[in-house]
């Protein structure tokens, strides 16, 4: 009845890119995204895409996966082409630039999610936002909350599936019915889900407290990934690409 939703596909491999510190990858991704948006010439985009192809090769992730990602947004791309062609009346070159911008965006984010586990991405974001702690923002706590949320996504899906099946056994069938039936089915699912989620939240809060969360403000960080030479290289390479793009634009 439910296809397991793959949230942020991770492709397992032992490539160099997989082993890079997630923080380095996130910083590089941001730098490359900036590069992506400041350039306006087709040649520079093609250069960028050539760079991406090299990185994809290094990542050992099949190019099919990236094509699949691009295919997922084909409706958006078609819409953009048609919209800009007919309504904005842009020429082919400018439309191509827009399309290439979007595709670059997809490739950069795919490179990140295919080579980095979601929890590592969470850790990387926490590290990148670390300076904001000066503003007294609860960065570590937010990262923990995100991590807990991610951990429970499969559990919540299983629970929702079970409740839907329960209600289906009482005659409510989400799949086989008309629109009104679907609405009733939804409401018969939401209330039990809420109740169960509240109970879960209560149990979790209790267990976290009992396991001494809040004992000290300085929680040990077990996943501190070491920063290696490779990580620095990756960041430098992306800065280099950015500079290349800036220079290319100015010329």
């Amino acid at each position: 009845m439910f296809k397991r939703v793959m949230f942020c596909k991770y492709y397992h491999s032992n490539s160099l890119l997989h082993q890079i510190n997630p923080t380095a990858k996130i910083i590089s991704a941001i730098i490359l995204l900036i590069s992506c948006f400041i350039i306006n010439s087709v040649w520079l985009y093609l250069l960028l895409i050539l760079f991406f192809i090299i990185v994809i090769y290094v990542s050992k992730v099949p190019i099919k996966m990236f094509l699949y990602s691009i295919r997922n947004i084909k409706m958006l791309l078609i819409f953009l082409i048609v919209f800009n062609l007919l309504i904005m009346r842009l020429d082919i070159i400018n439309i191509t630039i827009i399309i290439l911008k979007i595709i670059s965006l997809v490739i950069i984010s795919s490179l990140l999610t295919f080579t980095t586990k979601i929890n590592s991405i969470n850790k990387g974001i926490e590290n990148v936002l670390y300076p904001l702690k000066i503003l007294k923002l609860p960065i570590s706590e937010i990262a923990l909350i995100i991590s807990l949320t991610i951990r429970f996504i499969p559990t919540i899906f299983t629970q929702a599936e079970k409740i839907l099946k329960s209600q289906a056994s009482r005659g409510v069938d989400f799949r086989n019915d008309n629109f009104k039936g679907k609405i009733i089915a939804l409401s018969s699912m939401l209330i039990p889900m809420f109740i169960l989620s509240f109970k879960r939240a209560d149990d979790l809060a209790n267990i976290m407290e009992v396991r001494l969360y809040g004992y000290t403000d300085k929680r040990t960080d077990c996943d501190i990934d070491k920063w290696t030479k490779n990580d620095t290289i990756v960041v430098i390479v992306s800065i280099f690409m950015l500079l290349l793009c800036v220079v290319g634009e100015v010329i």
Binding site: I150, L204, V210, R211, C222
Partner: protein
Amino acid sequence: MKKIIEIKDLRYNYGTNVVFNGLNLDINKGEWVSIVGPNGSGKTTLIKLILGILKGQNHIHIDNLKLNKKTLMEIRKKIGIVFQNPDNQFVGDTVKTDIAFSLENIGLDKKEINKRVDEIASFLKIENILDKEPHLLSGGEKQKVALASALVINPKILILDEAFSMIDPYYKKDILNILKKIHRSKALTIITITHDLEDTLLSNRLIILDKGNIVIDGKPIDVFQQEKIIEQLELDLPFMVDLSLKLKFYNLVDKIYFSTNEMVNHLWK
């Protein structure tokens, strides 16, 4: 014997319900206590009060520390708990992270944390699932992880609150064997809350709770022979005990046998 838990005159209300109306209970260091009672008798509420999750009017002392706002954390350091629902107590994104959680909270250094996690995982034979995510584990595996998380802080008291009711009996046997081992080797004080009297055979003290009152408190073998109470609460005696008592009535055996082999050898010499 030294008392590790002292409860005097415990009172607690849940809304308009009076759960406890002056409960007194002492648990000695190294005892394995089973608490049995119908749903609503107050078993889980008692545990939550001991852990300070609920606040009642009480005088609770844990290891000579009076339970109050200031001592809460120190007391929780001494207690490991495994609750009933395997999913709702799994905090980490992997087994390893979950077990390490409490150690990270108290600020131990990374090396020590890794050492302790590896030790407890090896002891409980769960090294092979250390990197697995919870949704890929069975209920029984998750409870073993919960047990690991409880034991990794080296507690003085281990509490299991109906920890077996939602898992495969195969894992229940596994966990009970582990408890038997650590009760002996680590002189751990264990409290098991259960509906199943079979689970109480390993403990040295059985308390039956009903409507917030201790109905009976004694050695399991003595409690099992309190016919009236067993009947009144519709409790199921452990199989060997039940059989022994019936055979004893017809003079086929002279005592309660816990071991099948012993009884069989006695009956057919």
